[in-house]
């Protein structure tokens, strides 16, 4: 009833090929953007903006990057955090060595550096697949972490290897409060997400999915496997790189190579597994789940038990409940939460007259 395509007729291929062909989707996205840009800044406090929503958006961007590579192109990677690190350190170094570089250009360049590094570590994917490739990308994770610590140049010879991100200024406007940072991150993430959506529904995205689903057939159609895979690595690493730069500049302020360790890579991988492989929306749902669920569990445990349980017990309980929920969702819907949403939409098309 609510989500009804009945009676919506397309009169041109253009409108059927539009980014959101169904008006409900179009309005849904607009509404979500409206809430994110207008309502949340009005009601959320600094804690929510700075500590919860900003990292959620940045990790969603990184998850989106990994989803392009793993979900759309079928190449498993455990190096996403390393590409974030490349982005963060590159953004820092560009600001440092080219003073006065425009901030957005800085982020784009950081993304491009990450893309270049991604291409190099994507080369093994031409020969190996699946788990073996995952192991090869682990090399990226360890090698990049190691070299960022080992070579002082990257951190401008800071003794602890920590870099302090420069101030974020665009055209004299200083993004210094959590609200401003949130809005900047939100704008960047929205634009990049829409671009990703455009990419995956066009020729590039079809080539990625073709390689993912059946590489021999893809090649016979004329798709160059090498170019397609490396392109996926490049775009994916670009997204991760920008996410890393934002992580340093808009969220933490000071980072070192260990900020982007294997644990972070796994976290991003879990996001797309829980959220849904091969789904832009899934990257956001997955990030929301992984970032917000522990907080939610924590808050509800406090509300339920108050101070009745010891805090260390409580924090372990959090992990247990969280792990349990992941297993539960994967059993209920192995294709991720985005798939649940899709099923809900399919049911809503018929509801309340299922026959």
């Amino acid at each position: 009833m609510i989500y009804r395509e009945c009676g919506q007729f397309k009169t041109s291929y253009g409108s059927d090929q539009a980014i959101f062909p169904i008006p409900q989707d179009r309005w849904g996205v607009m509404l979500a953007l409206l809430i994110a840009f207008m309502v949340i800044p009005a009601i959320a406090n600094e804690y929510w903006l700075g500590v919860i929503l900003t990292p959620f958006l940045i990790l969603a961007l990184a998850a989106l990057g990994l989803n392009i590579l793993t979900g759309y192109c079928g190449q498993l990677s455990l190096g996403s955090a390393a590409f974030m690190a490349v982005g963060a350190f590159a953004a820092y170094n560009f600001e440092l060595r080219l003073p006065g570089i425009p901030l957005l250009l800085d982020f784009v360049l950081a993304g491009l550096v990450a893309a270049g590094v991604g291409i190099i570590f994507g080369i093994p994917s031409l020969r190996i697949k699946g788990f073996y490739l995952a192991v090869a990308t682990l090399a990226a994770q360890f090698f990049i972490e190691w070299s960022l610590t080992k070579f002082g140049w990257f951190s401008n010879y800071s003794s602890s290897g920590v870099i302090t991100a420069q101030k974020m200024v665009i055209l004299g406007y200083d993004f210094d409060t959590p609200l401003r940072k949130y809005l900047l991150v939100l704008s960047i993430v929205s634009v990049l997400a829409l671009m990703a959506k455009n990419l995956v529904r066009s020729e590039t995205g079809r080539a990625w999915m073709a390689v993912r689903d059946m590489d021999v057939a893809a090649e016979v159609i004329g798709i160059r496997i090498m170019k397609t895979k490396l392109m996926a690595f490049a775009v994916s690493s670009f997204y991760c790189g920008v996410a890393g730069a934002l992580w340093a500049f808009a969220y933490l302020g000071t980072v070192d190579a260990q900020t982007f360790d294997l644990h972070r890579s796994f976290q991003i991988l879990f996001m797309i597994i829980v959220g849904g492989m091969g789904s832009i929306l899934g990257s956001f749902i997955g990030a929301a789940f992984i970032v917000l669920m522990p907080i939610f569990i924590n808050l509800s445990a406090h509300a339920l038990f108050g101070n009745a349980i010891r805090p260390d017990l409580l924090s372990n309980m959090e992990l247990i409940v969280f792990g349990g929920l992941i297993i539960f969702f994967l059993i209920v819907e192995p294709l991720g939460l985005a798939r649940l949403w899709q099923i809900a939409k399919e049911k809503l098309r018929l509801w309340p007259f299922p026959h």
């Binding site: 253009g14 455009n198 066009s202 073709a210 993912r212 689903d213 021999v216 016979v220």
Partner: protein, 262 residues
């Protein structure tokens, strides 16, 4: 008769092809030619090397010996993505569709080679990216109409029944507007009506677009009815080559299929 359908000169020749996997000889010194606009069938018992032959033609396998001649051009080593650029398309014996994509997207993928827009344009869905997408969609819809799969165009192909998947795969091959179409058992596992539909599609494509076809098929009725030219393989060797009538009466072919009395 449609002038496009007039059988022309030989456009595709395989010459002295030998292919082996380790110690197994899949093809030994096979040569034959396919003339323009004709329907050529490759038949033979299981394991005769028919699919290997198609894989050699479009560059999935690289033979140890021999070469191809396509439109007068001698090709020693064909590559899969190059064969697509030469205008050779194919379907597979075990359906090789992109399972996660809709029927439309699968067929659109067949036109990937014709897309000129850069990925930057695509990221913004701007300029050529948009106009091309719409133009190709129009062509794909014609194929969808032709194959009568309008009702399932947006269904992920993994959910489609077998017969429809075979049609989508044919559609994907047709989308590339090939000059030579290789069909690997297009009618395997189909019931009579589905086979009749598929035969109709094959004849229509051949008739309307003048596409040269090389097909592998086990159903002798279909082969004898459709083909202009039949090549028979057995144990990787060519044992006969000729019109359906000649093949029907060939003693070696009868022996290969029915066995020889001791």
């Amino acid at each position: 008769m449609n002038p496009k359908r007039t059988i022309g000169d030989v456009i595709l020749e395989v010459e002295d092809i030998a292919l082996s996997f380790g110690g197994v000889r899949a093809l030994s010194h096979v040569s034959f030619g396919v003339r323009e606009h004709e329907i050529c069938s490759i038949i033979g018992p299981n394991g005769a090397g028919k699919s290997s032959m198609l894989n050699v033609i479009n560059g999935v396998y690289h033979p140890q010996h021999g070469h191809l001649v396509y439109r007068g051009k001698r090709i020693r080593r064909m590559h899969a993505h190059k064969s697509a650029r030469y205008g050779i398309a194919r379907t597979f014996q075990n359906i090789a569709l992109f399972k996660g994509m809709s029927a439309l997207d699968n067929i659109l993928t067949g036109r990937n080679l014709m897309i000129k827009s850069t990925f930057i344009e695509q990221a913004f869905y701007w300029g050529r990216a948009r106009s091309e997408e719409i133009a190709h969609r129009r062509r794909v819809e014609e194929i969808v109409d032709f194959l009568e799969i309008e009702s399932v165009r947006k269904v992920p192909v993994g959910r489609l029944p077998y017969g429809l998947q075979k049609r989508v795969e044919l559609g994907r091959a047709l989308a590339a507007e090939p000059q030579v179409l290789l069909l690997d058992e297009p009618m395997a596992g189909m019931n009579v009506e589905e086979k009749e539909d598929m035969c109709r599609f094959i004849l229509d494509v051949n008739d309307e677009f003048g596409t040269t076809m090389v097909l592998i098929e086990h159903d002798m009725g279909v082969v004898m009815d459709l083909s202009d030219h039949v090549v028979v393989l057995d144990y990787g060797r060519k044992i006969a080559d000729g019109t359906p009538e000649e093949i029907r009466d060939n003693q070696q072919v009868i022996d290969a299929y029915l066995g020889v009395a001791a």
